[in-house]
Amino acid sequence: MELISPGEFAKEKVQSVQDYVLLAVRSVANLFRSPRYFGDAVQQADIIGVGSLPIVLAACFFTGAALALNTAKSLGRFGALTLIGQLVSIGIVTELGPVLAALVVAGRNASGMASELGSMIVTEQIDAMRALGTDPVKKLVTPRVISTVLMMFFLTILGDFLGLLGGNVIATVVLGLDSRQYWSSAWQALEFSDVFTGLTKPLVFGFIISTIGCYYGLSTKGGTQGVGRSTTEAVMWAMILIIAVDVFVTRVLMVILGS
């Protein structure tokens, strides 16, 4: 690997952040400019949403079950096992559902976007698109951003439900609790702020996943090795940002909602 001076390294990183921000802004600004690629957005929604559904549902279901098992141990000590529904529902809806779904979609789709767009870069398909008079950001990035944001929202709702269902299976089958009592306590524990927080996060995470995936794809350099590098970095940075931004969003929403 070529060694560069700390100054050059810092300059490169600042340039990368600037390029990423510009791409993210353009991807949103394109929503208000024609042409709009509705068909491409629907196609991407199918790839991102339907394609990620089984793995998101499985991850959330088993996490909900594991959460129920772990909390049951602590609750049992205080004779408060009936509160298990509340703990699982708040944990899943506000935190684990959105973050898990986002991490799974990042692993699957940020890599997919980076490798697809990266391959298009190295085979000059992006240049060809520009040469044919089409803006690649409008045609390729904006539909992916819209689809990922929308699909993350719906995937998280379904993931939350499966997480609660996983908790329910443990509560009834392993702990011998009443199913109706579980669902009733899970439902009653949720406040507006919990649901609002849980459904705002996936929108932010969807934006991060798609813009990071597209940014690394479009900034691919070199041949197939470059595509591999972009794919890995896209997944890594998408996951880091999701986890870091989660803390920030949680705090901001707490302040806004006064919870």
């Binding site: 042409p35 000059e124 240049d127 520009r130 044919l132 008079g133």
Partner: protein
């Protein structure tokens, strides 16, 4: 310079052009990571003329084509394409200009997720306003021009290298561009397929009078283009009579060390006394 036997009247697009040159480079320079690839490049491509760009690998031939339509920005100098200064235009403004220029990339650059039909019609779909039946007719027409009408429903991955280049040519000419840019259209192809591609380029030059920049490192291509014309009656490329060889709207640009070593027509090239050029063309 006398015209070859079958040349037809200039196209309407060409006749109405106010500028005399399709492409003008003035003192253009570009460097990649401190390495100067092009340094002070100046040349003109008149309307209706084809210019063959020759040079060793890495001499900046492909870079020059990308500069012509603003896919790359020069560090200095000025580039006028179809009368518009691409060096001062924003990316959004360049999209309109690029719709008037066709380009065939070195590796074809077909969209691998789209069928041949959609690849060829890409520009028409993007521009909008064309009826589906008309798009179908025009796609079939250009695919017939490159003799690949049967590949309509195929994906690029199902085509051979030569077929992909021909589809790329069809995609470039579907909107009847005023200038065509060919980036090594015969690179890596067998001699028979290369000749088929060059025949298509000559057909485009002689039938539609499209201005073109053609990058190649195959002297054979340049030789064929200088000595042949397209006969519309036989629908074949024919050898020019001995006295008229080189008498086609064709010129040459040879690049060396990022600079223009030679810019002139076939006769000037043939009679050049420059040692490097003599070795290059021998």
């Amino acid at each position: 310079m006398s015209a070859p036997p079958t040349l037809i009247e200039p196209s309407a697009a060409e006749a109405t052009q106010p500028a005399r040159e399709a492409i003008v480079f003035e003192e253009v320079a570009i460097a990649f990571e401190d390495k100067k690839v092009l340094n002070g490049i100046t040349f003109r491509l008149p309307y209706g003329e084809s210019k063959i760009i020759l040079g060793v690998a890495g001499s900046g031939k492909s870079t020059l084509l990308k500069l012509a339509i603003g896919l790359l920005r020069p560090d200095s100098g000025r580039i006028l394409t179809l009368g518009e200064d691409v060096t001062s235009m924003k990316e959004e403004e360049l999209f309109d200009l690029r719709r008037r220029v066709g380009i065939v990339f070195q590796e074809s650059a077909l969209f691998d997720s789209l069928r041949v039909r959609e690849n060829v019609a890409f520009r028409l779909y993007e521009e909008g306003g064309t009826r589906e039946s008309e798009i179908e007719d025009r796609v079939r027409e250009v695919l017939r021009f490159v003799e690949l009408e049967h590949t309509l429903e195929m994906f690029p991955v199902e085509l051979s290298g030569g077929m992909r280049r021909r589809v790329a040519i069809a995609r470039a000419i579907i909107t009847k561009p005023e200038v065509l840019l060919y980036d090594s259209p015969t690179g890596g192809l067998d001699p028979v397929t290369s000749t088929t591609i060059i025949e298509l380029i000559i057909k485009q030059r002689d039938v539609y009078k499209t201005s073109a920049l053609l990058v190649t490192h195959r002297l054979q291509d340049a030789f064929v283009m200088a000595t042949h014309y397209f006969d519309q009656r036989t629908n074949k490329m024919e050898l020019l009579p001995p006295g008229e060889r080189g008498e086609v709207p064709l010129s040459f640009l040879i690049l060396r060390d990022g600079k223009v070593l030679f810019d002139g027509d076939t006769q000037q090239l043939a009679h050049s006394q420059d040692q490097y050029i003599r070795e290059y063309i021998s």
